[in-house]
């Protein structure tokens, strides 16, 4: 009996193509090698250089600050575990971004959700964002509107319009049809426009 054949040991689908390598990675290949060899301090430097980007992605995709923190932590732990498989074909930040997307999309299977999901997205998101130099009034409104989107629509919107994925790629990483990706994006934009004009 081969019931076991479909056992999901491959957790999340790989991201097809990632845009945008961080040029500041170039001088950091030494860090990546040291971290891969088990050097925690080197890995901490990589964490410091990348945490903002990872957290932003988690926050926008998860729509929940508490959950976003846990997902970001998980992404770094996963990156640490998988550093050995990082081949340096892409920039480290690009690779980490892909790991993060997989962690966020795979988190339904994890226990994180059970505890962290209780807290709805309250007014603390704008405050978090406002605390940063980068948070203009315009971006705060948009961040807030994104966080209030339904889960699927939000993830598609963030991947497509914020992260620059094409529908093909969104479809691939999320395991949905291209048509579904388009429909979700359309829905997200409609809801966002409504939220932003009201």
């Amino acid at each position: 009996m081969e019931t076991i054949a479909t056992f999901p040991t491959d957790v999340a689908p790989p991201v097809a193509v990632m845009t945008e390598a961080n040029s500041s990675d170039r001088g950091k290949s030494g860090l990546v090698e040291r971290a891969a060899a088990g050097d925690v301090e080197a890995f901490e430097e990589l964490y410091r250089a990348n945490v903002g980007r990872v957290y932003a992605l988690c926050l926008r995709m998860a729509g929940d600050p508490t959950l976003a923190e846990e997902l970001a932590q998980e992404a770094f732990v996963r990156a640490w575990q998988k550093l050995g498989s990082f081949r340096g074909a892409s920039a480290f930040s690009t690779w980490l971004h892909r790991v993060t997307v997989n962690v966020v999309l795979g988190h339904r299977r994890s226990t994180i959700r059970r505890e962290a999901r209780v807290r709805p997205l309250g007014d603390d998101l704008p405050r978090d964002v406002a605390g940063r130099e980068a948070g203009t009034a315009e971006s705060i409104d948009l961040e807030r509107a994104i966080s209030s989107l339904p889960d699927g629509a939000r993830k598609v919107f963030v991947l497509h319009d914020v992260e620059g994925f094409r529908h093909q790629e969104v479809s691939h990483v999320m395991g949905i049809a291209v048509g579904t990706s388009k429909a979700q994006l359309h829905r997200a934009r409609k809801l966002l426009r409504k939220a932003l004009t009201s």
Partner: protein
């Protein structure tokens, strides 16, 4: 071109992904249809705004201490897996006695040492069932119960020795699954643990199926 086509291909248009003739048709439609022209403006504006969002946002608190703790915990044990995961793997590997061997030995020594043995079906714990659910194996309990039921029917045909080895091995696998499931609670995405759970599952189902098919020995 219809308005509907327009909406569904607007991103290809904005990304310059349309073939020249389609892009031309797109522009013509834009010039004639105020609704779509407005839609295109709005989508383009929203896309531009989204693309301008800061790439980086600082988390409200430093996430490193927790990450460092988790990494350190992994480093304690050689390799990438926690102590519990290694114990779980060891537990599965411990399943030593073969039920077929017991069957063959038992046949030659019917009724010598072991007292009558019963088939006892222990219910798997919630945590084990939850792990199987998380991994997409929805029919574990049904498969297991079905095989136990079939075994119950056959139990009169098997020697006490065979049943003894069988029940001991089933218990070892149950306990291993318990350990793996507990470890999975803590590390839900640990692929190594998922594979261990899959291995334990395969062994248990194989064991039950083998036992059900053994020819009568008593």
């Amino acid at each position: 071109m219809k308005c509907l086509d327009f909406t569904s291909r607007i991103d290809e248009y904005l990304d310059d992904q349309l073939r020249p003739e389609n892009a031309e048709a797109f522009r013509n439609h834009l010039a004639r249809c105020p609704t779509c022209a407005e839609e295109a403006d709005a989508v383009e504006g929203l896309r531009r705004r989204a693309a301008r969002l800061p790439q980086s946002l600082d988390p409200p608190q430093d996430l490193w201490p927790e990450i460092a703790t988790r990494i350190a915990a992994e480093r304690v044990v050689r390799g990438r897996f926690g102590r519990r995961a290694l114990m779980a793997a060891a537990a599965v590997a411990l399943i030593a006695g073969s039920v077929v061997t017991a069957y063959l030995v038992g046949r030659s020594q019917v009724g010598t040492t072991v007292e009558n043995r019963q088939i006892i079906e222990n219910d798997p714990s919630e945590i084990v069932l939850a792990s199987f659910q998380e991994l997409g194996v929805a029919d574990y309990l049904v498969t297991r119960s079905g095989l136990f039921g079939a075994l119950e029917v056959r139990s009169g045909d098997l020697s006490p020795e065979t049943l003894e080895v069988l029940m001991t091995n089933l218990k070892v696998i149950d306990d291993a699954m318990e350990k793996i499931a507990e470890a999975l609670e803590e590390e839900p995405d640990n692929e190594f643990l998922m594979k261990q759970l899959a291995a334990a599952y395969r062994r248990q189902i194989n064991l039950l199926e083998t036992a059900v098919q053994l020819p009568a020995e008593v």
